[in-house]
Symmetry: D2
Subunit: 471 residues, 4 copies
C-alpha cells in the first residue's frame, strides 16, 4: 500500500526537495534533491512501517534481545541499495568512498532518516559506524581500511567507538584512563569502558578504543592514543548492557566492557601514538551535525504525531477536539518555530564544514549540539502531554524518542561542556569590546562639548543632600 | 577618533561582510557587502556616540521633549547621505525609488542599524516611515506620492500609521472602529487612536489612518479603509503621549490622538474603499523583518555590553572577575546560540519575501515575529543582571532597549495572535497526518504477518485477571 | 549495618521531626513526630537498601516479571507492622480503621515513603490501595468492607481502580464509556480500560470500576456508576501491560484490561447508581496529597543524589570537583528553593483537608497536583545531567524516578485540566475585580478634583497634531 | 464612596483575615487579624485611589519632582495614625517601640501594603526607613535614638542606607571602599555611593553609611564600619538621581551621592568600629521578608488586574472575551499557583525569624529573596501581555511595578549571590550523603547475598564481545 507524505491541508503532496528552506537551496545539487525525495519516500513508506516489525522481532530476555538480528533490516538494506540510498554520509569533499554528497546535502537526508528507528541502518548511515568509517577513511592505513572499512561500507559488519569510562568524569576527555602499555610489538590494554554504543550487536566486530598510552606527558592532550581492538580479542568482555531511561536499545545497545590484559598488535594504532585527541576531534564534527539533523527529523515527527492527535475525532475532552483548544495550538506554534529555527542552525553549520572544515565550524557545531536536543525534548514533551497515557507508553514512538533525545544532551559531551567552551571563546572578545565601548563614550563626551551640551545626567540634581535644590 | 569594530580576541577587525552567516552568502551582492561594511562603521563610529548627544539634547518637560529636534540627527543624516547610506530599506524587486537592495541585503544592514537609537533615522530607514513609504510607493496615487512620498524619501518630513484603538481589542484588527462617513467629496472621521508611533515629532505631517467605512459589510475584512489625514487637519488633537515602561521615546513618541469631525477629501483614500486590510497586510510583512533584524542587532549589542562587563577589571565579586564565573559564561553561550539561530530565521524569511512575496512568507514572518523579541528580552535580561544596578539605570542602554524589546512582543500583533495563526495553519495538516500514521500502522500489521510475527505488545500478558498466567 | 540520616555538614544527625517546616509544627502531634522519625529510619535503613533486592528478584520475561512476588517485600511488611508503621494513610478525622493520623501528619511521613520503591507497600500505604481502601471505608456496605477492606487493611490482597479508557479522551471523565447494563440482579459489563495500575500483581483481587450505566441522563455527571468487579470474574482479561517510558513497573504494572460480558451482582454497586462521580471525587483529594508528598520526597532524594555526585572525589571534570562549578551550585539552590516551596504548598493543602474536607480544598489540591510533579522533573533533570550517562542508566534511581514523575503530570488528570479548572474558578472573581478597579479609578478622579489637580496624563500634550504645542 | 474587597464570584466580601492560608493561622493573634482587615480596607479604599493623586502631584522637571511633597501623603498618614495603622513593622519580640506584631503578622499586612505605591509610607512602614529604624532600635546609642529614631517613628523625617558603590562589584559587600579615616574625634569620609534609595526626598535627613575604616584588616568582614551622616553635612552632594527602567521613583528616588571630606563626629559610629557587617546583616533579614511580602501583594494585584482585563466586556479579540481563551486561563492558573506557593515560603521564613532570629533563618530568607521577585515578574509579564499596549503604558500600574520588581532581583544582593550562598550551604551535606548512599549500596549487596541473588545487572550479558552469548 502507499504511504505518501501528505503535507498540505488538502492532503496534497509536496516533495521534500521543495520543502528545503529557501536559504539553503543554493547549496543543494539536483542530484541531491532527487536522492532526498527518494529518502523521504523510503523512510515514510518502508522504514517507519518496518520499525514496529523490527522491535517485535526481538525476544524478551536480555540474551535473546542482543543476539537478535531481524531479517527485516536486511530486507530494508537490500531495498535501499537498489534505490541507490547507501553511504550517503561520507562527505564528498573529503572522501571518494561515499555517495558524493556534501554535509549539507546529507544533512537534509539525515533529517528524514531521523524519523525512523531502522532507516539509518537500512541505508548504512547509522552511528557509530558513520563516524568510525570516517576515522578509517581519514586516518586508517591501507591494511586497516581493507580489513575494516570495506566490510563496514558494505554493511557486513558493525563497529563501536569506546571512549567514556564509568570511574572518571569522562565529560572531560583528558580524564580517560584505560591503561595501554607497550609490550614488544603489542599494546596491552587494561580497564573498562561504558556507553559503548552498538557493542551489543553481535555483528559488531571492531572497537576503536581511546586509551592512555603516555600518562606522564606534560601536554594532557597528548597522553591518549586511539587503537583498534577486534571485538573477539581475548580479555575483552561485555560485562553488561546499560539501559536508557528503561530502554535497552537492543540489539544495538550500550555496552559496559572490561579489558583484561587485552593484547593488540602495534599495527592497530590509529594515526600514531599520542594522537588520540586528533582522531576524536576529527571524528566528532560532522557526526554531531548528522545527529543534530536526525534530531530535527525526530522533532518533526513528534510534531506530526502531535498534530495527528489534535485531529483524532475520537478524542474530545470537554466537548471540543484538542485542535480547538488554544493551548494546544500555541504549543504547535512554539514547536514549529523552534524546529524551523534549529534546522537552519544545523544547515548553516553543515555548510560551514563543507566550505572549510569541522575545526573552523567549532562554534556552529557546539551551538547545534546544545540547541537541537533541548528543542527536541521540548517538542516531544508537548506531544507526549497531548497523548496523555499513550504518550508515555509503547503505543506511540514518543517515549522511546524522548529517552534517546534526553541522552543526546549527555553523549559527545554534556550541554554544560559545550556551553562552557562556547562561553569562553565568546568571552575572548570581551576586553576588545570593553575598549570599544569606552571609545564610544569618549567620543560622546567630545560631541557633547561640540554641541554645547553639559552631561545632563551626571549633574541632574546637584543639590546638597537633604536641602533645597541649588539648580 | 576611531572606534573600530574589534571582533577577535586579539582586537583584530573582521568587517561585517565577512561575518555574514555562510548559509546566507549566496544571496548577497558585492555592492551590498560594501554598503554593509559602511553601515557598520557608520553605526559604531558615528551613530552610537551620537545617541547620548541626541538624548541629552532633549529637554525635561513633556512639551520641550516633544518639540525638540536635535541638530545632531540632521548632521548624521547629512553624513549618511554623503556615504550613500540612504533609503536602503525599499526592496529592489518592488520599487525603483530605493537603494536597490533585496530584503535580505537590507536585513543584514538593519541588524547594525538596530544597535543605535539614531542610526535608522540617520539613514532614513526608521519606522514607521519605512512601512509608510512602502504604502505610498505600492498603493499611492501619483498625486499622493508627489505630495508625501517625495518629502519622506528625502527625510524632510515624518509620518505615522494610525491603527490601534484604546477602547477595543486591537489585537484583532477587525475590531478597529474609528468612524468614517462619506459627506459629498469628503470623508468625516470621528474616534480615537493610540500607539500612534512617531506622531510626537513635530515634523510628522501625515497620518495613514485605518478606519471603519462600511460597518455592516458581511465580510469583516472589507469593513475598513485606509485614508490619508494630514496632521494639521482641524479636529485632530494629540491628546497625550504614552510611555513605554517609563520611557517617553521623545520626540518620536507614541501618541493618543482624537478625531473630532475631521474632514479629508476623498482623493486621500488609499487603494480604495474597503481595502484597508490589503494595505495593512502589504505593509506589515517586510516591516516585521526589518524590526526583527534590528532586534537581532540589539541583542548582539546587549551581548557585547554583557561581555564588556564580564571583563571589566574593576568588577570582581568574590575575588574573581565575572568572566571567571561559570554561570556567566553559560549565559553568554545561551545568548550566542539564541542570537545566531534567530538571525538565520530572519534571513531565511527575508529571502522568502525576496524570492516571492510577503504573503507567501506568512509562516516565516510570523515565526520571527514571535521568536526574535523573546530572544532579545532573554539576552537583555542576562546582560542587565550582570550589570546589577547599572543595568536598570540610565548608565547603560540596556534598560531602554528592554522597554522597546518588551513592546515588540505587543506591537504589530501580540505573540499570542501570531502563535494562534501559526498553530491553526500548521494544524490544517493534522487530518492528513493522522491518515498517514494510520496507513503506516496498517502496513506494519501487514508486515508482521508477512514475517510470521504476532502483535506481541497487544497480547503480552494474556491471563485472566488476578489468576495465574495462561501463556 | 547502620545507615543514619546524615543531615548536617559535620555528618550529624537531625531527626525528621526536627526538620518539619516551622510553619507546620503546630499541626503535628508528639505521637506523629515519633512515628515520623521511625518512618525515616525505616525507609533509609531498611527500604532503600531493599529496593535493589526487590528489583533484582524479578525475572526477565513479561510473564515471569508479573508473576513475581519477592519475599523481601513480605519481610519488610513484617518489620513495618512490628514497628507500628502500618496504614498510616487513613485520615483520623474520617476513619477509625487507620493509624489515627491527620492528612498533614501522614503527608509528612509520605514524603519519606516517596524516597523508596518499596516503602509504601511495606507500610501498606501504597497507591492505588490507599485510595481504594478510602472508598471502601467511606462508601462500602458492611459486606463489601468485610470481603475486601479487611484483607486490604491487612495487606493480604491488592486492588485496582479502573477508570481511564484508551479509545476516548479520558482526561474528561464524562467521556468514560465502558458499557454497563442491568440484567435482572446483575450488571453486565463490556468494554476496555487501561492504565489500570496495580492490576499486574497477581495478588490484585478486586477492581473498582467506573462505567456508564445511564448514557442518556441529561446530567453528564450522573451517567456513570462505580462497581466492584472481582479480578477473576469470567470475561475479564488482562490484555497486556503498558510501559512507562520503557519501564514496566512490574509486578505492579499498568494493565490494559478487556471486559466481555462480565457479570457482577448488583450488591457490588458502590454508593449507588449514577453516583460514580461522587465516588471518584471523594477518592481523589487526599490521594493527590499523598502522591504529591511522595513526589516531594522523591525530589529530596534526587537532590541528595545530586549532592553526592557533586562531592564524588573521583569525578573532576576540568580539574575541579563538580561542587566547585558555580553552575552546579546554582542548580542546587534552585532545587532547594523549589522543593521547599512545593512542600509548603502540599502541607497547607493537607491541613485544609484536615480542617474541612477535600472539596473545600479543591483549589489547594489542584495547585499541588500541577506544581509538584513539574518541580520533581526539574530537580531530577538537573541531577541526571550532573551524573551524565549514569543518570539515564540503571545505575542510579534517577531514570526510573523520572519516568514515574513524568507520568504524574498525566495521571489523575493532566496538568492542563487542572489548570483550566483553576483558571476558570479564579476567573469568576474577574467581574467583581473589574468593578472594584473602576471604583478606585472613580475615587481617584474625585480626589484629583479635591486636591485641585487636573488629570495630567490625559492632557499631557494638548497640541494640534504636527503643529507647535499650544500649552 | 466605598471600594470593598470583592473576592468571590457573587461579588461577596471575605475579609483578609479569613483568607490567611490555613497553615499560618495558628501564628496570628486576634488583634493582628483585626488590624489586617483594617489594613486591607485602608489600602483598597484610601491608598490605591490616592496613588494616582500622589503621582500627578509631582512636577515635570527633575528638580520639581524631587522637591515635591504631595499633601495627599500627609493626609493619608493622618488617617492611618487615627486607625492605629502605624509602625506595624517593628517585630514584637525585639522592640518595644513598635505596634507589637510578629514578623509573621506584619508580613501578612505587608502583602496589602505592597498593592499600593503610597500605603507603606502612609503607615510609616516604608523602606528603607523600616530597616533603618531597626538599626537605630537595635544598635543605636540613646543619643542616636533620640535624635533620629524618634522623628523617624513619628514619620517626621526620612532616612537612607548608603551601601552600594558604582566603581566596584558591590554584590560582594567586602568590595565596599568609601574611604573613612579618623582625624581626632572625627571621621572623614571620601568617595561615592549610589542606589541610595530614598535620598531623593528632601525630608531625608539622615544617612546610614557603610565605609571602609580598616582596609588592611586581615578579616575582610572587619574592614568596614557603619556610621551616621546627616544629609546636610558639608561635602555631601547628591550628584544625580538614577532611573529604574525609565522611572525616576520621585520624590523618593535613588541617589548617586558624592562625599568630599565629609566630617562626622565619632559619636555617630554605629555599634563600633569594624562592625559594619554585623549591622548590615542584622538589618537585612526581616527587611527582605517585608520586601518579599510586598512583592507577593504586588503579584496578587497584578493577577487582579489581569482578571479584570479578561472580563472587560469591551475587549473581544476574535469574537471571544479574553477569559474564554484557554491560554489566558492557563496563565491565570500558573500565576495562582506561583503566588500561593511563594506566599507560604515567605510566611514560613517570617515564622522562623519570629521563633529564633534572622541568622537562623538564613536559608529561608535567601530562598524567598530569589523566589519571590522572579515569581512577581512572571505574573506581571502575563498581565502586561493580556493588556497589550495599555500594559506597558502609564494607564495601568503594571509597567511601574515591573520596573520595581525587576530591580528587586538586584537590590540587597543579586539572585546569583543568594543562590551561590544557598548552593554552597546545601553542598556541605554532600560528603555525608555520599557516605550514606554508599552505605545503602553496601547493605543492598549484603541483602542480595542473603536472598541468594546475584547482582543481575552487573552480569547481564556476560559474553565475549562480538561472539555468541555464553549464558
Amino acid at each position: 500500500m502507499s504511504v505518501p507524505y501528505l503535507i498540505n491541508s488538502a492532503g496534497g503532496y509536496i516533495p521534500a526537495s521543495e520543502r528545503i528552506p529557501v536559504i539553503a537551496r543554493p547549496f543543494v545539487s539536483e542530484r541531491a534533491k532527487k536522492t532526498l525525495d527518494l529518502v523521504e519516500r523510503f523512510v515514510e513508506e518502508e522504514c517507519i512501517p518496518a520499525d514496529t516489525v523490527f522491535k517485535q522481532s526481538l525476544g524478551e530476555t536480555t540474551v535473546e534481545r542482543f543476539d537478535a538480528h531481524p531479517q527485516v533490516i536486511e530486507d530494508l538494506k537490500a531495498k535501499a541499495k537498489k534505490l541507490g540510498l547507501w553511504n550517503m554520509f561520507l562527505p564528498s569533499n573529503h572522501f571518494k568512498e561515499g555517495a558524493g554528497f556534501s554535509n549539507l546535502e546529507y544533512g537534509l537526508m539525515a533529517e528524514y532518516l531521523g524519523k525512523s528507528a531502522t532507516a539509518s541502518e537500512a541505508t548504512n548511515c547509522a552511528a557509530p559506524d558513520t563516524g568510525n568509517m570516517e576515522v578509517f577513511a581519514k586516518y586508517g592505513t591501507e591494511e586497516q581500511k581493507k580489513r575494516w572499512l570495506g566490510p563496514l561500507l558494505n554493511g557486513e559488519i558493525r563497529s563501536a567507538f569506546l571512549m567514556t569510562e564509568p570511574q572518571v568524569a569522562s565529560s572531560d576527555a583528558t580524564n580517560i584512563e584505560l591503561d595501554m602499555k607497550k609490550d614488544g610489538d603489542y599494546w596491552v590494554l587494561n580497564g573498562q569502558k561504558w556507553w559503548s554504543s552498538g557493542a551489543g550487536d553481535r555483528r559488531c566486530q571492531i572497537y576503536i578504543v581511546m586509551a592512555k598510552s603516555d600518562p606522564t606527558n606534560k601536554n594532557v592532550y597528548r597522553q591518549q592514543s586511539v587503537i583498534l581492538v577486534p571485538a573477539d580479542t581475548p580479555g575483552v568482555t561485555i560485562h553488561r548492557m546499560l539501559s536508557v531511561l528503561g530502554f535497552d536499545d537492543a540489539p544495538h545497545g550500550h555496552g559496559h566492557i572490561t579489558f583484561e590484559n587485552v593484547r593488540v598488535h602495534k599495527s592497530n594504532m590509529v594515526l600514531g601514538e599520542g594522537r588520540g585527541f586528533e582522531v576524536v576531534q576529527g571524528r566528532l564534527g560532522p557526526g554531531r551535525i548528522h545527529h543534530a539533523m536526525r534530531s530535527v527529523g525526530a522533532a518533526e515527527k513528534a510534531l506530526e504525531w502531535f498534530l495527528a492527535r489534535l485531529n483524532d475525532p475520537a478524542k474530545k475532552p470537554f466537548g471540543k477536539q484538542l485542535s480547538e483548544h488554544g493551548i494546544m495550538l500555541e504549543r504547535v506554534a512554539k514547536s514549529r518555530i523552534e524546529i524551523d529555527s534549529s534546522r537552519l542552525s544545523v544547515l548553516n553549520a553543515a555548510i560551514k564544514i563543507d566550505e572549510s572544515n569541522a575545526k573552523d565550524a567549532l562554534k556552529e557545531i557546539a551551538e547545534v549540539k546544545v540547541q537541537v536536543p533541548n528543542m527536541l525534548l521540548d517538542v516531544l514533551d508537548r506531544a507526549i502531554q497531548a497523548y496523555g497515557g499513550a504518550g508515555v507508553s509503547q503505543d506511540t514512538p514518543l517515549a522511546n524518542m524522548w529517552a534517546s533525545g534526553r541522552t543526546m544532551r549527555i553523549v559527545d559531551g554534556p550541554d554544560e561542556v559545550h556551553m562552557l567552551q562556547l562561553g569562553r571563546n565568546e568571552n575572548k572578545r570581551g576586553p576588545a569590546l570593553l575598549k570599544r565601548i569606552e571609545a564610544q563614550k569618549e567620543k560622546s563626551r567630545e560631541l557633547l562639548k561640540q554641541y554645547g551640551l553639559k552631561e545632563r545626567d551626571v549633574l541632574e540634581l546637584n543639590r546638597v543632600s537633604g536641602g533645597k535644590s541649588k539648580l
